[in-house]
Symmetry: C2
Subunit: 201 residues, 2 copies
């Protein structure tokens, strides 16, 4: 899975992650990555040949954080209703640690949609299989309406948007006060779980 990095490579990838996540592929500068890593520009090329390959390493890593975790939770034997709590908490916590990952991924998958194929193949995701499994798992009667597709899109939409739209939302609704926004994010875990469960009634 993870190519094991040498110490210097790790230094570079960490710096690259920071810069790429903030600026995107086009906006990032090799110089800035080098500075951030405390090394020289030429070294970047020594280790990663070119900007594209360095970017790919970061992007792949980001997407791998985004998805495989969800799969693990979806396929295990936890009752479906409990999966909701677990998934919501998991994503909120993950995005809170690294808020820029959301807009980064959104931007890059739209820039270069083909890149996803590779990452998905590498990580061996078979969402169609999961879909099947979940459909079977749903206890008919308890849940009046269920579409796996809509459920997944609902969940991610409810979670993702405040992170992706933060600069806008914080200004429009919270007088641009970061603390108010953070409180809102914390509340939101509960709200999202509630909405998702209601959506199944």
């Amino acid at each position: 899975m993870n190519k094991e990095y040498t110490e210097t490579e790790l230094l570079i990838v960490n710096a690259a992650r920071k810069v790429f996540l903030n600026k995107g592929m086009d906006g990032a500068r090799m110089q800035e990555i080098a500075d951030e890593a405390g090394i020289n520009k030429a070294l970047l090329h020594y280790y990663f040949r070119n900007k594209q390959k360095l970017f790919d390493a970061v992007f792949q890593e980001a997407l791998e954080k985004f998805f495989p975790a969800i799969v693990e939770v979806l396929i295990n034997e936890t009752p479906f209703i409990d999966k909701i709590d677990i998934l919501v908490d998991m994503y909120f916590d993950r995005f809170k640690e690294n808020p820029h990952i959301v807009s980064f991924i959104i931007h890059e998958i739209n820039q270069n949609p083909e890149r996803i194929e590779n990452v998905m193949k590498e990580s061996g995701m078979r969402l169609d299989v999961i879909k099947q499994k979940i459909q079977e798992m749903i206890e008919v009667g308890k849940i009046s309406f269920f579409s796996f597709d809509h459920f997944m899109v609902n969940m991610l939409g409810l979670i993702i948007w405040p992170f992706a739209g933060r600069p806008l939302i914080q200004r429009m609704l919270f007088e641009n006060d970061p603390e108010k926004f953070d409180d809102f994010l914390e509340e939101r875990k509960t709200v999202v779980k509630r909405v998702l469960k209601k959506s199944l009634e």
Copy 2:
């Protein structure tokens, strides 16, 4: 509001919109915009002085499409529950016409958050006033839980994510078939309305 454009200016802005929405500020090339407009690079500078000013024109226009419309619906006298249907349809239709606008705005507000201030001031949005008005409008009893902030974020999240994440979602859930995805989008109008209303019970 809209500076009235001359014929050539309009030609340029239309081309610029197309390119900027697809590539973002950093990824866009003045040459490409010129080609798209069927004119010369130098003319871009003649009319808009530099890339930044041209970009600002496009960005402002995009944000103005994004928000003022929602305000209009929120403040009028329609019963709140009906506003939901209207808003959902409005945004879906708008984004379907111009799918790239979503990831464009997400990217740019995160790149340069300060830019929003200007646009918001220009368009005179006072969301705090609307918030107040809506809170009063809610019929207590019929609606058990209401937070304007969460409701707005829920609504936009549910609507926006399929547009922003399309390349990913289409591959993960619909074997990368655009038609299947479009059917899904159409279904989604109903689903989102339903989920939003359930969330208020």
